[in-house]
Amino acid sequence: MEIRLNGEPYTCGDQTTVETLLAALNLNPERVVVEHNRTLLERGQSLARHLSAGDEVEIVTLVGGG
């Protein structure tokens, strides 16, 4: 299925969860923050949320800046 990931189209398996998406991208869940369809996933909240076609996912991190 296709989702929108960080504003771009992204193809992933039908059973993808936020957790498996992060693992597929090789991202450390401790170092990123995820928004799923504009809902912020707070620390400690389950990442086992299933994604559906057309979902919007944002994955952000802290980077250098002033």
Partner: protein, 258 residues
């Protein structure tokens, strides 16, 4: 004189220098400059992860979070919604509730959108954030931001990255005179003497990024800034002499061999 902490909300710092983490050639240089600056607070930005090439390393892996407080910013935001959303994302990173509230009004000057900054600050204060809004050197806005619950107010010395130094010391003096919360001068410093001037005016602290990261030798400049901030703070507390038009002799007038 030695115990002169800076208090912002529930946070306490011994250093009055706050540094940015942008524009360094790598994370090791960022860390070395942070160490040389003596700063206990460092700003960071919130950005999308590069999906096609996720970074192997994270800035936070290079910062000792035991002795360094992270100050996430909302840099790059042009609307209240973007700013509030970015602040929430930053807090969800689970580090703290601090946010440098930054809503830009124009991409050429990077001057803040005062109206949007105030609105975003009101919203974020209500949500429990410790807000440090970046603002113009406007005494009225500074007062409104403090009244809105900002834990500190951060007027600019000059445009971001310009290195022009304090452009309007008179406005900063008015802001400082009426301040009810700490005033951190943020942006526009070019070299160590600029930081000293800021502190001599009575600012509670100074925040800079480009002046250090853009110097030919960032780590040496970080140390220069540390000393400049300390010198300015000490001079402010020591109390400078009044300016006079004519000379006053330093040596006794009597007993001169003629």
């Amino acid at each position: 004189m030695t115990n002169d902490p800076l208090r912002i909300g529930k946070y306490t710092f011994q250093s009055r220098l706050i540094v940015g983490s942008g524009k360094y050639k790598d994370f090791a240089e960022t860390r070395a400059a942070l160490d040389a600056s003596g700063a206990e607070m460092i700003t960071v930005a919130v950005r999308r992860v590069n999906i096609t090439d996720p970074a192997r390393e994270n800035l936070l892996d290079y910062i000792d979070l035991e002795r360094t407080t992270i100050l996430p910013n909302t840099a790059g935001c042009y609307t209240v919604d973007e700013c509030v959303r970015t602040a929430r994302l930053a807090r969800a990173a689970g580090i703290n509730d601090l946010v440098k509230v930054e809503v830009i009004g124009d991409d050429k000057t990077l001057f803040p959108d005062a109206e949007a900054t105030l609105e975003a600050t009101r919203i974020l204060v209500k949500e429990g954030f410790t807000c440090l809004p970046y603002t113009n050197d406007d005494p009225i806005m500074a007062r409104k931001l403090a009244d809105a619950g900002a834990a500190a107010v951060m007027p600019l010395a000059a445009p971001i990255g310009s290195g022009l130094g304090v452009c309007n010391p008179y406005n900063l003096r008015i802001i400082l005179e009426q301040a009810t919360v700490p005033i951190i001068v943020d942006a526009g410093v070019g070299t160590a003497s600029d930081a000293t001037v800021v502190m001599e005016l009575g600012a509670d602290g100074v925040l800079m990024n480009t002046a250090i990261a853009g110097a030919r030798e960032p780590i040496a400049m970080a140390r220069a800034m540390r000393l400049g901030v300390e010198a300015g703070r000490l001079a402010y507390r020591a109390g400078r002499i009044p300016r006079k038009l004519y000379a006053t002799a330093s040596s006794p007038l009597e007993g001169v061999v003629r």
